[in-house]
């Protein structure tokens, strides 16, 4: 199935669960259609339902996990929009447009190296489950600022995990770019490893460089400010090799070779 050709709809979804995951907040929404249709790496435009005009716009939120009829979001309350979503209580309703964007291409056969930084781990949980289900070998390299954020690494099921923190309060001290080249060694007779990554721009830039150096494919999920999420506003663009690319409809997942890394 092409990850980008599912028509999106506007839903009003009830919050079924809300729980802290260290520094983050995990919300579960009752959203059976999105749960059925969404592909790993796709996103939703979400805001609290109702007439309040501040925050004004929905926020792009990765589909973090799916559990039967529930669609889960992982929220880092960094601004007023994300803070309002993080404060949603069980029974509150969210206005949700989705599923949107092009997700990860999981058709490859090589070992998957899943690289996450901070809140960027959000879409990687659903991706990891899907890759494991396909029988792919999965190794996760997850980096966080500190132990409080690193609690999110505990969400990842059944995959080998390398955990790093910048302050050394959990796992090894350092950045994900340090152990990554060692994970990309191709075993004799096996298909080449493949990177799936989401995280801060600096991390993704390092991932793109390492992927190029090691000659492996890397898909990255880009996080930009968006107003509409459906290709109208042209606000979410990032540089491609020739022209700006719209993160919302051409991404959010891109092959690193399709973007320009300054």
């Amino acid at each position: 199935m092409d990850a980008g050709l599912i028509p999106a709809k506007l839903f009003e979804c009830q919050v079924a669960e809300s729980r802290p995951v260290g520094a983050y907040r995990q919300l579960a929404l009752v959203a059976p259609e999105i749960a059925y249709l969404a592909h790993p790496g796709q996103f939703l435009m979400a805001r609290l339902a109702g007439p309040a005009l501040d925050p004004l716009l929905p926020r792009p939120m990765c589909v973090h996990d799916i559990d039967s009829d529930l669609v889960k979001l992982l929220i880092d309350p960094v601004g007023k929009g994300t803070a309002a979503l993080a404060e949603a209580e069980v029974g509150d309703r969210l206005s949700v447009l989705g599923p949107l964007g092009r997700g990860f291409d999981m058709e490859g056969e090589g070992p998957a190296v899943v690289v996450g930084g901070g809140i960027g781990v959000s879409p990687l949980l659903l991706l990891t489950r899907a890759l494991l289900q396909r029988g792919r070998e999965v190794r996760c390299v997850l980096g966080f600022r500190n132990r409080s954020q690193a609690v999110a690494a505990g969400l990842f099921p059944g995959a080998a995990i390398d955990l790093l923190t910048e302050d050394g309060s959990a796992g090894r001290t350092g950045l994900v770019s340090e152990p990554l080249p060692g994970c990309l060694v191709r075993e004799e007779g096996n298909p080449a490893p493949e990177i799936f990554a989401c995280g801060p721009d600096a991390m993704l830039k390092a991932v793109a460089r390492i992927a190029a150096d090691c000659g492996v494919r890397a898909q990255v999920s880009m996080d930009t400010h968006m107003a509409c999420g459906i290709g109208s506003c042209q606000g979410c663009v990032i540089p491609g090799p020739e022209a700006y690319r719209k993160t919302c409809i051409e991404g959010p997942v891109f092959d690193t070779r399709d973007l320009k890394w300054q």
């Binding site: 506007l10 004004l56 716009l57 400010h225 968006m226 107003a227 459906i230 290709g231 109208s232 606000g235």
Partner: protein
């Protein structure tokens, strides 16, 4: 009481008074992304595509967006593929919409307004042309033509000489006296004025204290600017005989009602469509209810009620 939502902008007959603001609803993309069949049931009463310029423009460096208190600051920079690509690729598809299509053009040089109007003049797909005179103009060292009455008059005159299409001029609020600029546009041959475009603004990153937008400053839209827009519509609609399209923060049916009362013949929704791409449907339905509650039977009976 049955409420009649029909309205007219000169020869353009609209089924209801709510259209989209240029650059805020890309029907060709939205029709692909959304489940809604927008070509069968188009929710706006007319369609205004994104502004095009003579030459393609890549647009401004990102970041291009930042949300402010009940508002949105943007610096997209008129990113577009140029008028030739618009005519060749987009117009044949837009002709399939069940509503009038209004092209929006901007000039990087004053002459461009005449050239673009001439290129669009013979296109039967178009019901009207909107001149966006708020584009930073190369001759004026990055200032918009629409910032003064003389510049607006020159641009509109050139377009008027080049087309017999219904000509709408979109005005910027970033002027000392918008009434004076509106009068200059009408004097030069504008059939209609639309107002307001975005309000100049900027935001700083709370930590680094540097400008957030790649272009440093941007244009503010959304509910935050509604009172600015309402005043401009109130003043301009009393000063010129041409019909007025009111816009600037129209988000709810009550907003639409107030812009019409302030003197607009139609209103446009912009940022509200980013919040909810189909918000227009609720605004149109809500407008009929609000008019009925007030015993107002038609848009003509509402327009200018505040004067």
């Amino acid at each position: 009481m049955a409420v009649n939502l029909k309205t007219a902008l000169g020869p353009l007959e609209l089924d209801h008074p709510v259209i989209n603001a240029s650059g805020t609803f890309d029907v060709l993309e939205a029709d692909t992304v959304l489940e809604e069949d927008l070509f069968a049931r188009f929710p706006f009463a007319a369609y205004v595509p994104k502004t095009v310029t003579l030459a393609p423009r890549a647009g401004n460096a990102p970041p291009r967006l930042y949300e402010t208190s009940a508002g949105l600051l943007n610096s997209i920079g008129l990113a577009n593929r140029g008028i030739e690509a618009f005519i060749r690729d987009d117009l044949p598809r837009l002709a399939l919409l069940p509503v009038p299509v209004i092209a929006s053009v901007a000039g990087e040089a004053t002459e461009d307004y005449g050239v673009c109007a001439a290129m669009l003049d013979g296109r039967d797909e178009l019901a009207a042309i909107e001149l966006n005179v708020s584009c930073p103009n190369v001759e004026l060292h990055g200032r918009a033509l629409g910032l003064d009455p003389a510049g607006t008059h020159r641009a509109v005159s050139l377009a008027r000489e080049s087309t017999s299409k219904f000509l709408i001029v979109k005005l910027t609020p970033n002027v000392t006296d918008i009434v004076e600029v509106a009068a200059a546009a009408v004097d030069a041959g504008a059939d209609c004025v639309s107002l307001i475009n975005t309000v100049h603004g900027m935001v700083l990153d709370p930590w680094s204290l540097k400008p957030v937008l790649g272009n440093v400053t941007g244009g503010l839209s959304g509910p935050a600017i509604k009172p600015v827009a309402l005043r401009a519509v109130f003043l301009v609609s009393q000063a010129v005989t041409a019909p007025v399209i009111g816009m600037g923060g129209v988000t709810t049916a009550q907003d639409a009602l107030e812009f019409l009362a302030a003197g607009a013949s139609a209103v446009a929704m912009g940022t509200a469509s980013f919040r909810d791409p189909l918000a227009v449907t609720g605004v149109v339905a809500g407008l009929a209810e609000l008019m009925e509650e007030r015993g107002i039977g038609s848009v003509a009976g509402l327009s200018g009620a505040a004067h």
